[in-house]
């Protein structure tokens, strides 16, 4: 089960500033466990962001994105916009969270 994201969106002068924190281990595939075995890579692969149903950003992550990923972007929008963030990882786990632009 994936943990909730933290999505914040603030409108200023017609621009909505969106900040997202995702809870994900983003295992790099480079680390070894205590027994010396490589811990397989486990990371978010794609992330989609919509405002009022329309794409505002699409991202693709490799294992080199930091643990508990942070993402900040801006789009032309308005207060009250409904923002939906959606990620999928390489094990097929996924998570959707929402926020309203303030």
């Amino acid at each position: 089960m994936s943990d909730p994201m933290r999505v914040r969106a603030a409108e200023n002068g017609g621009i909505v500033d969106v900040k997202i924190l995702m809870k994900h281990d983003m295992e790099s595939g480079q680390r070894k466990d205590a027994a010396g075995k490589v811990i397989p890579a486990w990371h978010i692969t794609t992330i989609n962001m919509k405002a009022n149903g329309k794409d505002v950003l699409n991202g693709q992550f490799g294992p080199a994105v930091s643990k508990d990923p942070f993402l900040n972007f801006k789009y032309k929008g308005a207060k009250g916009d409904k923002i939906v963030v959606n990620w999928v990882d390489n094990k097929g786990d996924k998570r959707t969270d929402e926020a309203t632009a303030s």
């Binding site: 924190l21 643990k67 942070f70 900040n72």
Partner: protein, 270 residues
Amino acid sequence: MQRKFTLGLTLGILAASISLSSLVFAQTATDEIAKYREMIADGNPSELYEVAGEDLWKTPAGPKNATLEKCDLGLGPGVVKGAAAQLPRYFKDTNKVQDLESRLMTCMQKLQGRNPQEMVDAPFQKGPKKDMEAIVAYVVTLSKGDKIKVSTNHPKEKEMYELGKRAFYFQGGPMDFSCASCHGEDGKRIRLQDLPNLTTQKGAALGWGYWPAYRVSSGQFWTMQQRLNDCYRQQRFPFPIYASDLTIALSMYMAKNANGGTVETPGLKR
């Protein structure tokens, strides 16, 4: 023998003069680190733990299937706001000085019927400790911006402070380290990390005021108990027992020294 000392003196003066010339360079590196910290300050992953912690606080759990909402953290049952800024403190019902985590264990035991030993024995970041960490993130966030205000009026509080002070200077292990080896002087660093002088108000506020924190090097949220645990690991000491009087005494020493400083928790650390 005498020559050795004379030589030592010369070397010492030389060393002192060289360190001046390297100061400029060191300053640049420190400024850059400050910039780095500023860049990551917005978007502290502690928030993710805080959300989970609020959920755990309000969800019935344990053998008694109860929430923690009636937990008394010192300001009365159910008062969370500002409570962490005044811990550790003496609690009448347990007749003990408790820090946040030992107090939360009391609440989990009394309200939810959980066995505190399970919490003590659990490894950090796993099982019951994982829940504890999230709950701590939730509780300390509700003191953010408050002034640190820890009392030593009760004789047991005063005693705990003195014991903590003594523990702070206690040297041991194969490297002769005490807490004071690294945190007893102003303006020192390990590698590029500034070391707050925890014996002063200013330094203690910088240390105590920013923990618990999310640590970027481990990608984990660390409670004060885990912070102390890793200090002792690095000191090459044996393993400090979770929520032992030793750990509470050290917290009491730091917290009281930090009085008047601002709670900046949860912090974001290297």
